[in-house]
Each structure stands twice: as C-alpha cells, then as structure tokens.
Symmetry: C2
Subunit: 218 residues, 2 copies
DNA sequence: TTTGAAGTATTAACAGTGTTAAGTATCTTT
DNA sequence: AAAGATACTTAACACTGTTAATACTTCAAA
C-alpha cells in the first residue's frame, strides 16, 4: 500500500518533470517560429515558461541541447509530410513528389530547415553524443537513396552510381532552398533578361528548374 | 605656400584615415581566418589595431559594414581564381574548370564562402544601401550565364532555358559546398554501402559527381 | 517527530556581445 | 589667443550563454 503510493507519487513526479521538459521545448519552438532563431534567447524561453533562466539547465544541458531537440522536431514534421508519398507506386513519380514536398517544406519552415541542414549547433550536439552518426539525416538520405535504387530497377538513371545520383539530387534541392532562403536569388540582377517570366513565383520557377534537371538525369 | 602646405597636410590626414580603415579590415580578415566568423568580435578587432572599440564605428557604420567589406574581399579572391579560365577557348571545358575552381575555393576558404553565400549580414547591408542589387553576386552569376549561352551556341544544353541551366548548376555546386561545409555529408551513414570508395576524398567525390551531372545535362 | 539528504528552483555573478552618449584631448582656423 | 572642428576614449546600456552558491521543498530513515 505504502509502496504503491510511493510509486504513484514518484511516477507523477517523473511525469511532471517530463512535462516541464516538453513545455520548455514548446516555448522554444513558439518563440523560434515567432521571432526566428537568432532572436530567441534562453532568457526569452525561461520567461515564457515562467521559470528562472537557470532552471532550463536542469532539463537541457545547454542551448545546443534545445536546438538539437528542435531540429528533431523539424525532422518529425518533414517525415510527416513525406508520409503521403508512400501511396505513389511509380518511383519516378514518387521522386518528383518528394522533391516538391522538400522544397515546400523549406519554403514554409525556413527556420526549421536552417536548423536541420545549415546551422552547426545540432550537428555539434550529434558529434559530442552520438559518435558521428546523424540519425535524422541518415534516415532521410536513405529514403532518397532507396528511391533512386527503385528508379534504376525501372531502367532510369542509367550508367550512374546511385550514391552519385542521390548526392546530385539532394545537393541541387538543398542549394536551391538555401540560395533562395538566404536571399541570394532575389538580389541577383540579370544583365540580359529577355527571358524573364514574371508571372511565375520564385518557388514555382525553382520547382520547374529542378524537374527539368530530373528529366535530363532520367 | 601656406595653402600648399595645408593641402599636403590634409592630404596626408586623408591618407592616414584611409590607411586605418584598411588596417581595420586587415585585422578583421586576419582574426576571421584565424578564429572563424562567430568568434571575432568588434573588441577583438579593436585590440588588434590597437584602438578603442568605439573608434571602429568612426570608420565603419556597424559590424555588418565590416562584414560586407570582407564579403567583397572574398569575391575579389574568387574573381582572381577565375581569371585563369579566360584562356580556355571551349566553353564546356571552361565550365568544368570553373566548377572545379568554385568547389576548391569553398573547400579552402569556408569562412569567406559562408560570408559570400550563406550569412545574411552582407545581404542585409546590400538591401539597406544598394536598393536590392547585389553587385558581386550578380556579376558572378552573369559569368556563369554567359558561359551557358556560349555552350548552347556550341549545341550543348539543348532544349533548356539558359537561366534554368544556370540555376541548376549554381544550386548544385552551392548545395554540394554547403552540405559538405556544414558537416551534413560526413555525418550521414549509409544503410547499404557496398559501393563505398574510401580511397577518394570527399572533395574529389563531390567534383566527380558534379561532372557526371554536367555530362548528363550536356 | 526530528534530522539529514535529495531534488528543485532561484539569485547573483562572470565574462562576453554590439552599440551609443558624453567627454577629452589635439590640431586648425579665425 | 579664442573658437571650432577632428580624432579618439571612457563609461554605460541592454543584451547574451552559463555557472556557483544559495534557498526552499519534499521525502526517508533514525
């Protein structure tokens, strides 16, 4: 009886601890999406969960620890978006849809994207704790790789190594996303712009360019 | 006589002022290359030129102003590397060499590359002062674009819009550079790695992948 | 029931950041 | 010699991430 009671209580404590840990992450995420990465500080997060700044350090080792957890959230979100493509039977069509989802994700969640694929914070955390295996990234890459393999079974991407194709596709998508996000595309002015197509939005233009690459690789 | 003397003195003063401005930039560059971007502060730079931190603000509006000047230095360096390709007559060979130089530049000067194509500091400076025309980037892009046009005159890159090809090439190179720099490639572990080629270094592997893309676009 | 030990949260502080306002020399001009 | 411009510095503001020391609460054993 006594024991059961104790266990119940310590269970509740554990639950409450987990709960606060989650609330800290939620607060961090909210601030992050409101004001961007650079602008959210430990003190900001602490204020929002109504605890002292130092309390956060009882739940997360340091800021990178929070940043890593957020980066994981980002991957969960991306995986969720990717779920719908499982129904597409032909690997090439699936590839095209995955590309569209990837580009759209970056467009709609630039701060998450930055954390997942650009910032060094999360990757430093990986190197300190997981002995150089970036699970989230590896999983995502392998989804792409498997898809390339399937395409090759259908006779596509002939005479190319699958890792080669995967690297090209990922790099191109990543390059397009980041050049766009970091405003390196809109600030470029063409000397000779007779073929400008102003009715197309930048993301549409990017997607079409990528598709024309894919068609060529095919 | 008096006037000449005065002019000479004020000339010297002006020269000294310009000189200090340059010395500040040199100090910034040195620190930047030694310790990286994140780790160099205004106070660091000031200490190195042996002036008070606030003096820097008499020569540069703010830190972004210095960062923008450094970003320009980076472009000068890249342009210098590119100079050698002018002698290559065939546009496709020229393109391949340009790609190699671009990748090598990013590999050897990751901090400069970051400033030129990733960080938002310099581009913010552009938006505040130059009404959205990123000269350095525009010039670099147009070099690529002109090269694509020349290739098409030789019958290459058929049925593709030149801006499309340019975007694909730049994005792929940029994506490869940044994924590598930001350690997103080395931390990925393959589930199925029967075709791993360990005797090749990452930069070599990247270059070869890019060339196989180019051959396919051709 | 008291005592001591965990566990949890806080205050104060450190060492740093970019940046500005105010003050101080020095040198030029009237 | 007095007034003014120029060049520079000191002091300060409002932040940042993070740690050490301290308090408060809860709980188990003596």
């Amino acid at each position: 009886m006594q024991k059961n009671n104790n266990m119940a209580i310590s269970d509740r404590k554990l639950r409450e601890k987990e709960d606060l840990k989650k609330r800290i992450l939620e607060a961090a995420k909210a601030l992050f999406l409101e004001k961007g990465f650079e602008a959210t500080s430990m003190r900001n997060i602490a204020e929002r969960v109504e605890f002292s700044p130092t309390t956060l350090y009882l739940y997360y080792k340091d800021k990178n620890d929070i940043v890593y957890a957020l980066h994981q959230e980002g991957f969960k979100l991306l995986a969720q978006q990717f779920k719908t493509v499982a129904g597409i039977e032909h690997p090439y069509e699936r590839m095209k849809t995955m590309a569209r989802i990837y580009l759209q994700f970056a467009e709609e969640n630039p701060d998450f994207y930055e954390l997942m694929f650009v910032r060094q914070g999360p990757i430093l955390h990986v190197q300190k704790h997981n002995s150089d295996d970036w699970e989230e990234g590896s999983r995502t890459y392998n989804v792409l790789y498997e898809n390339v393999i399937e395409c090759q079974k259908e006779g596509l991407f002939k005479n190319l190594l699958p890792h080669n194709v995967s690297l090209i596709i990922w790099s191109t998508l990543h390059g397009m996303c980041t050049l766009h996000m970091h405003m390196r595309l809109d600030c470029v002015k063409f000397e000779d712009d007779y073929e400008v197509v102003p009715e197309k939005s930048r993301p549409e233009y990017i997607y079409e360019s990528f598709i024309s690459l894919l068609e060529r690789l095919k």
